[in-house]
Symmetry: C2
Subunit: 121 residues, 2 copies
């Protein structure tokens, strides 16, 4: 379990926003593949709950040890899902002592919102 609270900030990676909005112009094959890859990371209830846990945490980051119990899956399964979220750029991780802390990447969520957005938005 988590000891006291630590420094909140995890450096946010640069998010290269991909792909013009769906409604702005017809998606090319490679843009579609990249967007699909990112949405696939959101297409699992466990990952959505993990992301939600991170995005709503007061500190902005949560110890991996505190993510296992809330989602009710085994530790390897949670680690697997965190890896997929990380590879999709939706979360970042940082080692703090013997623990690893995860944080959501708001810019990545914004990027996906943009892809779903109105053509003139």
């Amino acid at each position: 379990m988590t000891p006291g609270r630590l420094l909140p900030v995890i450096p946010q990676p640069a998010v290269q926003d991909c792909c013009t909005p769906l409604r702005a112009s017809v998606l090319g094959a490679s843009d579609a593949a990249e967007l699909a890859r990112r949405f696939a990371a959101l297409a699992d209830p466990v990952r959505l709950r993990l992301l939600s846990l991170l995005a709503t945490s007061a500190d902005g980051a949560v110890c991996a040890c505190d993510l296992v119990e809330p989602v009710g899956k085994s530790q390897p399964t949670v680690s697997h899902h965190l890896r997929i979220l990380r590879e999709a750029g939706l979360v970042t991780s940082e080692r703090r002592g013997s623990n690893i802390w995860y944080a959501a990447v708001p810019a990545a969520l914004e990027s996906l919102r943009t892809a779903l957005g109105a053509p003139d938005a």
Copy 2:
């Protein structure tokens, strides 16, 4: 192929927006499952291109016969993907003579945008 242009409007179904935004409160298990189901519909490049074709069409609707060639998949495969988009509420279809026309459902896209949105948005 499509003859001339027809009446543009396809009646839009009511969209029940699901699930509080990810960043507003921790997602419950059932909300997470429902959201995951909707994002899964977007987690395929063929479906994203189909949706983009529909969302950018000048008439607001496209004959199914005009969706096969652009995505470069077989007719049954396109039909399969259109069904998934329809069941996710992202597109609507309407019979016009011997053809079936599809249209995007903007409100459904907005609903997903909201789920990805900022807590106070």
